[in-house]
Symmetry: C2
Subunit: 163 residues, 2 copies
Protein backbone atom coordinates (compact mmCIF):
# COMPACT_ATOMS: atom_id res chain seq x y z
CA UNK A 1 0.00 0.00 0.00
CA UNK A 2 1.21 3.47 -0.91
CA UNK A 3 -0.01 6.94 0.04
CA UNK A 4 0.34 9.73 -2.51
CA UNK A 5 -1.07 13.22 -3.03
CA UNK A 6 -4.41 13.04 -4.86
CA UNK A 7 -4.88 14.68 -8.22
CA UNK A 8 -8.21 15.96 -9.56
CA UNK A 9 -8.46 12.75 -11.61
CA UNK A 10 -8.48 10.65 -8.43
CA UNK A 11 -11.91 11.88 -7.34
CA UNK A 12 -13.65 9.41 -9.64
CA UNK A 13 -11.93 6.58 -7.76
CA UNK A 14 -12.48 8.09 -4.30
CA UNK A 15 -16.16 8.79 -4.94
CA UNK A 16 -17.49 5.20 -4.66
CA UNK A 17 -16.06 4.70 -1.18
CA UNK A 18 -16.83 8.27 -0.15
CA UNK A 19 -20.44 7.86 -1.30
CA UNK A 20 -20.87 4.53 0.49
CA UNK A 21 -19.50 5.85 3.77
CA UNK A 22 -21.42 9.15 3.64
CA UNK A 23 -24.69 7.50 2.57
CA UNK A 24 -24.44 5.04 5.49
CA UNK A 25 -24.58 8.05 7.82
CA UNK A 26 -22.84 6.24 10.66
CA UNK A 27 -19.57 8.11 10.94
CA UNK A 28 -19.70 11.45 9.09
CA UNK A 29 -21.61 14.61 9.86
CA UNK A 30 -22.15 15.31 6.16
CA UNK A 31 -25.51 15.31 4.38
CA UNK A 32 -26.07 11.68 3.43
CA UNK A 33 -27.20 12.58 -0.10
CA UNK A 34 -24.14 14.58 -1.17
CA UNK A 35 -23.71 14.67 -4.93
CA UNK A 36 -20.52 13.82 -6.80
CA UNK A 37 -19.71 17.53 -7.17
CA UNK A 38 -20.56 18.46 -3.57
CA UNK A 39 -18.42 15.61 -2.30
CA UNK A 40 -15.54 16.70 -4.49
CA UNK A 41 -15.77 20.27 -3.18
CA UNK A 42 -15.65 19.04 0.41
CA UNK A 43 -12.94 16.43 -0.01
CA UNK A 44 -10.46 17.57 -2.68
CA UNK A 45 -8.31 20.27 -1.08
CA UNK A 46 -5.59 22.37 -2.65
CA UNK A 47 -2.32 23.44 -1.04
CA UNK A 48 -1.56 24.46 1.63
CA UNK A 49 -4.21 21.91 2.61
CA UNK A 50 -3.87 18.46 1.08
CA UNK A 51 -5.83 15.39 0.01
CA UNK A 52 -4.11 12.02 -0.39
CA UNK A 53 -5.10 8.58 -1.57
CA UNK A 54 -3.98 5.19 -0.30
CA UNK A 55 -3.53 2.80 -3.22
CA UNK A 56 -2.96 -0.94 -3.06
CA UNK A 57 -0.39 -2.87 -5.07
CA UNK A 58 -2.80 -3.01 -8.04
CA UNK A 59 -3.17 0.78 -7.96
CA UNK A 60 -6.72 0.61 -6.59
CA UNK A 61 -7.77 3.44 -4.28
CA UNK A 62 -8.52 1.84 -0.90
CA UNK A 63 -8.63 4.98 1.23
CA UNK A 64 -8.23 8.73 1.31
CA UNK A 65 -7.55 11.49 3.79
CA UNK A 66 -7.74 15.26 3.73
CA UNK A 67 -5.80 17.54 6.02
CA UNK A 68 -6.20 21.25 6.60
CA UNK A 69 -6.08 24.02 9.21
CA UNK A 70 -9.00 23.53 11.58
CA UNK A 71 -9.76 27.26 11.67
CA UNK A 72 -8.22 30.37 10.13
CA UNK A 73 -6.71 33.54 11.57
CA UNK A 74 -5.39 33.20 15.11
CA UNK A 75 -6.33 29.50 15.23
CA UNK A 76 -4.71 28.45 11.94
CA UNK A 77 -1.84 26.69 13.75
CA UNK A 78 -4.10 23.76 14.71
CA UNK A 79 -4.63 21.18 11.97
CA UNK A 80 -7.54 18.86 11.36
CA UNK A 81 -8.02 15.83 9.13
CA UNK A 82 -10.68 13.45 7.84
CA UNK A 83 -10.39 9.86 6.70
CA UNK A 84 -12.20 7.40 4.47
CA UNK A 85 -11.28 3.73 4.13
CA UNK A 86 -13.03 1.45 1.63
CA UNK A 87 -15.25 -0.87 3.69
CA UNK A 88 -13.78 -3.83 1.79
CA UNK A 89 -10.28 -2.80 2.93
CA UNK A 90 -11.15 -2.36 6.62
CA UNK A 91 -8.74 -3.96 9.07
CA UNK A 92 -5.78 -3.82 6.69
CA UNK A 93 -4.00 -0.90 8.35
CA UNK A 94 -5.10 1.67 5.80
CA UNK A 95 -6.59 3.99 8.44
CA UNK A 96 -3.48 3.75 10.60
CA UNK A 97 -1.18 4.49 7.65
CA UNK A 98 -3.31 7.51 6.70
CA UNK A 99 -3.33 8.69 10.33
CA UNK A 100 0.44 8.46 10.53
CA UNK A 101 0.70 10.33 7.23
CA UNK A 102 -1.45 13.28 8.33
CA UNK A 103 0.42 13.59 11.64
CA UNK A 104 3.74 13.65 9.81
CA UNK A 105 2.33 16.22 7.38
CA UNK A 106 1.08 18.44 10.21
CA UNK A 107 4.42 18.31 12.04
CA UNK A 108 6.31 19.08 8.83
CA UNK A 109 4.00 22.02 8.12
CA UNK A 110 4.62 23.43 11.59
CA UNK A 111 1.18 22.92 13.09
CA UNK A 112 1.15 22.95 16.89
CA UNK A 113 -1.66 20.44 17.32
CA UNK A 114 -4.27 18.38 15.53
CA UNK A 115 -7.95 18.41 16.41
CA UNK A 116 -10.78 16.16 15.26
CA UNK A 117 -14.05 18.01 15.72
CA UNK A 118 -16.59 15.23 15.38
CA UNK A 119 -15.61 11.62 16.04
CA UNK A 120 -18.75 9.51 16.48
CA UNK A 121 -18.57 7.70 19.82
CA UNK A 122 -20.00 4.47 18.39
CA UNK A 123 -17.25 4.38 15.73
CA UNK A 124 -15.12 2.58 18.30
CA UNK A 125 -12.57 1.28 15.81
CA UNK A 126 -11.73 4.85 14.80
CA UNK A 127 -11.71 6.11 18.40
CA UNK A 128 -9.27 3.38 19.44
CA UNK A 129 -7.10 4.00 16.39
CA UNK A 130 -6.83 7.74 17.07
CA UNK A 131 -6.06 7.05 20.73
CA UNK A 132 -3.31 4.65 19.72
CA UNK A 133 -1.88 7.42 17.52
CA UNK A 134 -1.71 9.82 20.46
CA UNK A 135 -5.08 11.57 20.42
CA UNK A 136 -7.04 12.23 23.62
CA UNK A 137 -10.81 12.56 23.93
CA UNK A 138 -10.99 16.17 25.15
CA UNK A 139 -14.76 16.14 25.59
CA UNK A 140 -17.89 14.47 24.29
CA UNK A 141 -20.95 16.38 23.14
CA UNK A 142 -23.73 14.28 24.65
CA UNK A 143 -26.14 12.96 22.01
CA UNK A 144 -24.19 15.03 19.49
CA UNK A 145 -24.74 12.54 16.68
CA UNK A 146 -27.80 10.63 15.57
CA UNK A 147 -26.78 7.20 14.36
CA UNK A 148 -29.25 5.64 11.89
CA UNK A 149 -29.68 2.48 14.00
CA UNK A 150 -28.13 3.23 17.43
CA UNK A 151 -29.97 6.54 17.91
CA UNK A 152 -28.30 9.43 19.71
CA UNK A 153 -24.65 8.81 20.58
CA UNK A 154 -21.89 11.12 21.77
CA UNK A 155 -19.65 13.13 19.48
CA UNK A 156 -16.02 13.24 20.62
CA UNK A 157 -13.63 16.12 20.16
CA UNK A 158 -10.14 14.61 20.03
CA UNK A 159 -6.82 16.41 20.12
CA UNK A 160 -3.11 16.00 20.37
CA UNK A 161 -0.35 18.59 20.69
CA UNK A 162 2.39 18.36 18.07
CA UNK A 163 5.15 20.51 19.52
Amino acid sequence: MKIRVATAEDWAAIWPLFREIVAAGETYSYPRDLTYEQGRDIWMLDAPSRTVVAVDTEGEVVGSAKMNPNFAGGAAHIASASFMVAPAAAGNGVGRALGEYVLAWARAEGYRGMQFNAVVESNSRAVRLWQSLGFTIMTTIPEGFRHPTKGYVGLHIMYQPLH
Copy 2:
Protein backbone atom coordinates in the same frame (compact mmCIF):
# COMPACT_ATOMS: atom_id res chain seq x y z
CA MET B 1 -32.68 48.17 20.98
CA LYS B 2 -34.41 45.78 18.62
CA ILE B 3 -33.29 42.54 16.98
CA ARG B 4 -34.56 41.74 13.52
CA VAL B 5 -33.67 39.34 10.70
CA ALA B 6 -30.97 40.87 8.49
CA THR B 7 -31.58 41.56 4.82
CA ALA B 8 -28.89 41.61 2.14
CA GLU B 9 -28.93 45.41 2.37
CA ASP B 10 -27.84 45.27 6.02
CA TRP B 11 -24.39 43.94 5.19
CA ALA B 12 -23.11 47.45 4.40
CA ALA B 13 -23.99 48.48 7.96
CA ILE B 14 -22.65 45.29 9.58
CA TRP B 15 -19.37 45.42 7.67
CA PRO B 16 -17.68 48.29 9.61
CA LEU B 17 -18.06 46.53 12.95
CA PHE B 18 -17.35 43.10 11.45
CA ARG B 19 -14.17 44.43 9.82
CA GLU B 20 -12.98 46.14 12.99
CA ILE B 21 -13.49 43.02 15.12
CA VAL B 22 -11.99 40.62 12.57
CA ALA B 23 -9.02 42.87 11.80
CA ALA B 24 -8.22 43.15 15.53
CA GLY B 25 -7.70 39.35 15.53
CA GLU B 26 -8.43 39.00 19.23
CA THR B 27 -11.66 37.03 19.25
CA TYR B 28 -12.35 35.43 15.86
CA SER B 29 -10.58 32.60 14.07
CA TYR B 30 -11.15 34.23 10.69
CA PRO B 31 -8.42 35.60 8.41
CA ARG B 32 -7.82 39.14 9.66
CA ASP B 33 -7.81 40.57 6.13
CA LEU B 34 -11.21 39.29 4.97
CA THR B 35 -12.67 41.37 2.17
CA TYR B 36 -16.17 42.85 2.11
CA GLU B 37 -17.38 39.99 -0.11
CA GLN B 38 -15.63 37.23 1.86
CA GLY B 39 -17.09 38.58 5.09
CA ARG B 40 -20.55 38.71 3.56
CA ASP B 41 -20.30 35.09 2.42
CA ILE B 42 -19.31 33.98 5.92
CA TRP B 43 -21.78 36.08 7.87
CA MET B 44 -24.99 36.50 5.84
CA LEU B 45 -26.84 33.19 6.09
CA ASP B 46 -30.08 32.17 4.41
CA ALA B 47 -32.87 30.05 5.90
CA PRO B 48 -32.93 27.61 7.57
CA SER B 49 -29.89 29.33 9.09
CA ARG B 50 -30.33 32.97 10.01
CA THR B 51 -28.48 36.26 10.45
CA VAL B 52 -29.93 39.05 12.57
CA VAL B 53 -28.99 42.63 13.40
CA ALA B 54 -29.42 44.50 16.66
CA VAL B 55 -30.43 48.11 15.93
CA ASP B 56 -30.61 50.98 18.40
CA THR B 57 -33.43 53.48 18.71
CA GLU B 58 -31.94 55.53 15.86
CA GLY B 59 -31.92 52.49 13.59
CA GLU B 60 -28.10 52.14 13.78
CA VAL B 61 -26.73 48.58 13.59
CA VAL B 62 -24.94 47.97 16.91
CA GLY B 63 -24.53 44.22 16.66
CA SER B 64 -25.22 41.10 14.66
CA ALA B 65 -25.44 37.36 15.13
CA LYS B 66 -25.59 34.38 12.83
CA MET B 67 -27.04 31.01 13.79
CA ASN B 68 -26.84 27.70 11.97
CA PRO B 69 -26.49 23.94 12.38
CA ASN B 70 -22.99 23.24 13.69
CA PHE B 71 -22.58 20.24 11.37
CA ALA B 72 -24.77 18.50 8.81
CA GLY B 73 -26.10 14.95 8.47
CA GLY B 74 -26.35 13.05 11.75
CA ALA B 75 -25.08 16.04 13.72
CA ALA B 76 -27.43 18.65 12.28
CA HIS B 77 -29.52 18.77 15.47
CA ILE B 78 -26.84 20.78 17.30
CA ALA B 79 -26.85 24.52 16.54
CA SER B 80 -24.02 27.00 16.62
CA ALA B 81 -23.90 30.78 16.56
CA SER B 82 -21.50 33.70 16.23
CA PHE B 83 -21.76 37.24 17.51
CA MET B 84 -20.43 40.71 16.76
CA VAL B 85 -21.07 43.78 18.88
CA ALA B 86 -19.88 47.22 17.82
CA PRO B 87 -16.99 48.11 20.14
CA ALA B 88 -18.66 51.49 20.81
CA ALA B 89 -21.77 49.67 22.05
CA ALA B 90 -19.97 47.22 24.37
CA GLY B 91 -21.44 46.88 27.85
CA ASN B 92 -24.95 47.87 26.77
CA GLY B 93 -26.45 44.39 26.83
CA VAL B 94 -26.35 43.90 23.06
CA GLY B 95 -24.41 40.63 23.31
CA ARG B 96 -26.75 39.27 25.96
CA ALA B 97 -29.83 40.17 23.93
CA LEU B 98 -28.34 38.49 20.85
CA GLY B 99 -27.41 35.42 22.92
CA GLU B 100 -30.95 35.13 24.25
CA TYR B 101 -32.27 35.53 20.71
CA VAL B 102 -30.18 32.71 19.25
CA LEU B 103 -31.07 30.36 22.09
CA ALA B 104 -34.78 31.08 21.59
CA TRP B 105 -34.34 30.55 17.84
CA ALA B 106 -32.55 27.22 18.37
CA ARG B 107 -35.23 25.95 20.76
CA ALA B 108 -38.00 27.02 18.38
CA GLU B 109 -36.24 25.29 15.49
CA GLY B 110 -36.01 22.06 17.48
CA TYR B 111 -32.25 21.92 17.98
CA ARG B 112 -31.18 19.70 20.87
CA GLY B 113 -28.15 21.72 21.89
CA MET B 114 -25.96 24.67 21.00
CA GLN B 115 -22.20 24.46 20.63
CA PHE B 116 -19.60 27.21 20.29
CA ASN B 117 -16.51 25.75 18.65
CA ALA B 118 -13.93 28.42 19.30
CA VAL B 119 -14.34 30.86 22.19
CA VAL B 120 -11.04 32.59 22.89
CA GLU B 121 -10.13 32.10 26.55
CA SER B 122 -8.86 35.67 26.93
CA ASN B 123 -12.22 37.03 25.73
CA SER B 124 -13.38 36.79 29.32
CA ARG B 125 -16.38 39.06 28.89
CA ALA B 126 -17.79 36.69 26.25
CA VAL B 127 -16.93 33.58 28.28
CA ARG B 128 -18.74 34.97 31.34
CA LEU B 129 -21.72 36.04 29.24
CA TRP B 130 -22.12 32.58 27.67
CA GLN B 131 -21.77 30.94 31.07
CA SER B 132 -24.48 33.23 32.47
CA LEU B 133 -26.70 32.14 29.57
CA GLY B 134 -26.26 28.48 30.46
CA PHE B 135 -23.20 27.39 28.48
CA THR B 136 -20.51 25.18 29.99
CA ILE B 137 -16.85 25.07 29.00
CA MET B 138 -16.67 21.46 27.78
CA THR B 139 -12.93 21.57 27.10
CA THR B 140 -10.16 23.97 26.21
CA ILE B 141 -7.72 23.37 23.37
CA PRO B 142 -4.44 24.44 25.00
CA GLU B 143 -2.75 27.27 23.07
CA GLY B 144 -5.51 26.88 20.48
CA PHE B 145 -5.52 30.58 19.64
CA ARG B 146 -2.72 33.06 19.05
CA HIS B 147 -3.73 36.43 20.40
CA PRO B 148 -1.91 39.37 18.75
CA THR B 149 -0.63 40.72 22.08
CA LYS B 150 -1.22 37.98 24.70
CA GLY B 151 0.36 35.19 22.63
CA TYR B 152 -1.01 31.66 22.76
CA VAL B 153 -4.20 31.31 24.80
CA GLY B 154 -6.73 28.52 25.14
CA LEU B 155 -9.68 28.00 22.82
CA HIS B 156 -12.85 26.93 24.62
CA ILE B 157 -15.52 24.64 23.28
CA MET B 158 -18.76 25.63 25.00
CA TYR B 159 -22.08 23.81 24.94
CA GLN B 160 -25.53 23.66 26.41
CA PRO B 161 -28.29 21.13 25.90
CA LEU B 162 -31.62 22.59 24.79
CA HIS B 163 -34.05 19.77 25.44
